[in-house]
């Protein structure tokens, strides 16, 4: 009853993939090209219109010093996107390396690496990063990227390891070993190509978690530092007046949720595509 040779559907036909990628592209365009079309920069203060509600002049209202909320949000979105993407790529690279090495080599290496994973999973990574943050107060935001990646790779690494382990005993890996192929060849020719779709999926989902992690850290003041703004710092700044001047809070929240949702929807769509094969 096996249906032989079901045609493979190209990725991109699933609604999630289309929706997620369109939304991400739109957000990225808005973040990087949008500010060019705005009459205000995000630092421009207008003390005459402090904390004013959305109006034609300021579509998302103004903040405490009269800054345009839309300009602030787009600027914050830039930083959040860059941090999220970089951290996700780094996370994926680390987890691909750790997972493949642990899964393919097995034995002692595997046990040590997995013990590290388990230890790092006991506590919320965000708290651990927060603990380190006082020492990094004056460092560049790139350090933040490193930290997010450094404490976010464990789950993907586990998944990659599990896949590598099952591939290790698969027929074609055994066949390659039997013909004398080196470990390096087996990993690069057989394991990684098989795992590429999985890694793409996880990388996309990691963008979502990295954006969330950045926002969480910045919210507590442990992430992006002034004068830089990110969605996290904006949400944090807006929380105090969320009940009185909701737009300063809701606007960055909307951008944040849209970004995370776009990445998550895209990732899930790609995963379904992967699973269907």
């Amino acid at each position: 009853m096996t249906a032989a040779g079901t045609p493979r559907r190209r990725p991109g036909r699933r609604p999630g993939v289309v929706l997620g990628s369109c939304l991400l592209v739109a957000l990225a365009l808005a973040a990087f090209a949008g500010p060019l079309f705005l009459p205000y920069t995000h630092t421009q203060q207008d003390l005459a219109t402090v904390l004013s509600a959305p109006s034609p002049a300021h579509p998302l209202g103004t903040a405490r010093l009269g800054e345009d909320v839309l300009a602030l949000c787009l600027r914050g979105l830039q930083k959040s996107l860059v941090i999220g993407l970089l951290a996700a790529v780094l996370t994926t690279v680390v987890s691909a390396v750790v997972g493949t090495v642990a899964g393919y080599l097995g034995g002692m290496v595997d046990r040590v690496l997995m013990a590290v994973v388990d230890v790092l999973l006991v506590l919320p990574p965000i708290l651990v990063v927060a603990v380190v943050s006082p020492a990094l107060r004056d460092q560049s935001w790139l350090v933040l990227v490193l930290l997010i990646a450094g404490f976010q790779w464990m789950l993907t690494a586990r998944v990659v390891r599990a896949r590598a382990r099952s591939l290790r005993s698969s027929g074609y890996v055994v066949a390659a070993e039997n013909m004398g192929a080196s470990s390096a060849r087996v990993v690069t020719r057989h394991l990684l190509p098989q795992m590429a779709p999985l890694l793409v999926v996880d990388c996309t989902l990691n963008v979502a978690s990295a954006v969330l992690a950045e926002a969480g850290l910045s919210y507590f003041g442990f992430g992006v530092q002034a004068p830089d703004v990110s969605l996290g710092t904006l949400v944090s700044a807006g929380t105090g007046s969320a009940l009185t001047f909701p737009w300063v809070f809701l606007a960055p929240v909307g951008f944040l949720a849209a970004t995370v949702l776009a990445a998550a929807v895209l990732g899930e769509g790609l995963r379904d595509d992967e699973g269907a094969r």
Binding site: M1, T2, A3, A4, G5, T6, A175, A176, M179
Partner: protein, 592 residues
């Protein structure tokens, strides 16, 4: 008599990605009371979909039309509740995969009891459990009362299938549907299960709808046969007349795949492989030792083919793995081309790998699905550093050798049929011009009608390139037609070795005799006459070593021996002895 099952114009379609896929297409069939009807066909011919349609267990997305009458009552279109009163009571099912069909976390006894209580709501827990024990006992599960508390994974495949049959017979059904009930089992166990099914039918008077691709099973157990192709009935009739004069190419193809031809006779050349005293032990858990290979001697000469046969778990695949690793074995020696592998340096080992290649069982898993066929075939050449132009020429040549066309080169394995995939695997093995090819059940993952074709391809290539083969197999008829020499393994040792004609046509060791007798044959008379010779029991727990002869607990000869003769079996492990032209490891087989 009115039929117990009548299928009229049944059509089953599944929702595919590009429109509906028709699995069963206007099928009509009847099964009379007490009758055994076989439903045969290649995979994808709609056999299983038919069975599930009768049971009303198709996925909800399936579209079903036509009519299924069970004892005159229409089943299609009924609610789940109504059908649940029919399932397990009037019609019962035995599934293909006995492990998958049992809930892993529920004791087997409780699952059997459930088959009882589902149709006798008032029976009470204790009475249902008692009945379950009685049923388990009836299907031949020893110490059924204690074993009823065991979980499915603690049972062997054969035992699990017995549990499934116990459930099927729990409510004296009118019809039992068995979907490939033995295809996951060894021939010896298959024979036991088929006998058990016969026995259950005799006791309950149930009719049998047996789905299979193995015509030997049909010849042994069925009255009539229906041949399916692409969801439609191709032909139907009594087993004996149809097997004599098949009316369709489908049946003819299936039949020819099973015919036994005498194997090739080729002169033997210089020694290629010599194994002496090979042992390999594993520790599956602390304190337990499995002697997977327990003292094996073998030799294979250039141009010659040797088959290792035996039940799964006898250690035959472990022997292949020990050879292909090219490492020093735990005990014993492996010599290839007169060189002991234990003394090899890394460079020498790599060089030697070119001359020893392997074809694995399942081409679906042994070929990387992301690589193009040409890259797959070229991989061993790249590993061994062949120059690029030569690789290209060799790849083209190999495609032709295994009967593929140049346009296959760019395809992925997923775009090929099972037979084509195994051809690719063979091409890959032959690529670096090996002298010795190790074959691990090279056709057992293929459809029956393809097996002979691939086996003949291998035989042809062997003759053409003077290759030596060491093949692991459990398909005796195919082995018979492909090799000159056979070695029979039981629990890690070789019990009989000799020419294929001697060992398989006139087996001497009681185990070989039982193995040959359990092999399904197409001749209906012969198939039924063989039932008496079914081997009882299964391979014992591999961590326990019986003293003396390991085969003793199952040996039909031992059962007939006198006390003095038995003592020898119990105390002394039999050493291989020359009996005529063959070696036999049994104390009580005499030279002819």
């Amino acid at each position: 008599m009115s039929p117990v099952l009548e299928i009229r114009d049944l059509t089953v379609a599944f929702r595919g990605r590009s429109g509906p896929v028709t699995a069963v297409d206007g099928l009509s069939l009847t099964v009379s009371p007490g009758e055994a009807l076989a439903l045969v066909g290649e995979s994808g011919s709609g056999k299983s979909a038919t069975a599930l349609a009768v049971m009303g267990l198709l996925p909800e997305t399936a579209r079903v039309r036509g009519s299924v009458l069970l004892a005159g009552r229409e089943l299609l279109g009924r609610s789940d509740r109504e059908l649940s009163r029919v399932r397990g009571r009037q019609v019962a099912m035995v599934h293909q995969d006995p492990l998958g069909a049992l809930t892993p976390v529920v004791p087997v006894g409780a699952q059997v009891a459930e088959a009882v209580s589902a149709h006798h709501p008032g029976i009470g827990r204790r009475a249902a459990a008692e009945r379950a024990v009685a049923l388990l006992d009836a299907v031949g599960i020893a110490s059924a009362r204690t074993r009823a508390a065991a979980l499915p994974h603690e049972f062997s495949g054969g035992m699990r299938q017995r549990v499934a049959i116990a459930m099927a017979m729990a409510n004296d059904p009118d019809l039992i549907i068995a979907d490939e009930p033995t295809s996951a089992l060894d021939v010896t166990i298959q024979a036991q299960i088929l006998d058990l099914l016969d026995d259950v039918r005799a006791r309950t008077g149930a009719a049998l709808l047996l789905i299979t691709h193995d015509l030997g099973v049909v010849a042994r157990s069925c009255d009539r046969v229906a041949v399916l192709r692409k969801g439609s009935l191709v032909e139907e009739g009594g087993v004996a007349p149809l097997f004599q004069r098949p009316g369709s190419d489908d049946l003819r193809g299936l039949l020819s795949a099973r015919t036994t031809a005498a194997g090739p006779e080729r002169p033997a050349g210089e020694p290629v492989l010599r194994i002496t005293g090979l042992r390999r032990q594993f520790s599956p858990r602390r304190g337990a030792v499995v002697r997977a290979v327990d003292g094996v001697d073998l030799d294979v000469r250039a141009g010659q083919a040797l088959a290792l046969i035996g039940e799964s778990g006898c250690g035959k695949t472990t022997v292949l793995r020990e050879i292909v690793g090219l490492r020093a074995p735990q005990t014993g020696t492996v010599e290839l081309f007169d060189r002991d592998v234990s003394g090899l340096r890394r460079r020498e080992r790599t060089a030697l790998r070119e001359r020893v290649q392997m074809v694995m069982q399942d081409p679906t898993s042994s070929l990387n699905p992301t690589m193009a066929v040409a890259d797959i075939i070229a991989e061993p050449l790249r590993v061994h550093g062949w120059p690029r132009p030569e690789i290209r020429a060799r790849t083209r040549e190999l495609l032709e050798l295994v009967g593929l066309s140049p346009e296959h080169a760019e395809r992925r394995p997923g775009q090929l049929s099972g037979g084509q995939r195994q051809r690719v695997a063979i091409a890959r093995a032959l690529a670096p011009r090996p002298r010795l090819v190790l074959l691990d059940e090279p056709v057992s993952a293929l459809d029956t009608s393809l097996r002979a074709e691939i086996m003949d391809l291998l035989t042809g290539l062997r003759a053409r390139f003077d290759l030596a083969f060491l093949m692991v197999s459990h398909d005796i008829p195919l082995t018979r037609r492909a090799v000159e020499r056979v070695a029979v393994m039981y629990l890690g040792t070789i019990v009989e070795a000799g020419t294929a004609a001697d060992v398989l046509d006139h087996p001497a060791h009681p185990y070989t005799r039982a193995l040959v007798a359990a092999t399904p044959v197409l001749d209906v008379q012969a198939a039924r006459a063989r039932r008496a010779a079914v081997l009882s029991g299964e391979l014992p727990d591999p961590t326990g070593f019986p003293s003396g002869c390991a085969f003793r607990p199952r040996c039909p000869l031992y059962a007939e021996l006198s006390g003095v003769d038995r003592a020898v079996c119990a105390e002394e492990p039999p050493k291989p002895r020359q009996v005529g032209a063959r070696q036999v490891a049994c104390h009580h087989v005499d030279p002819p």
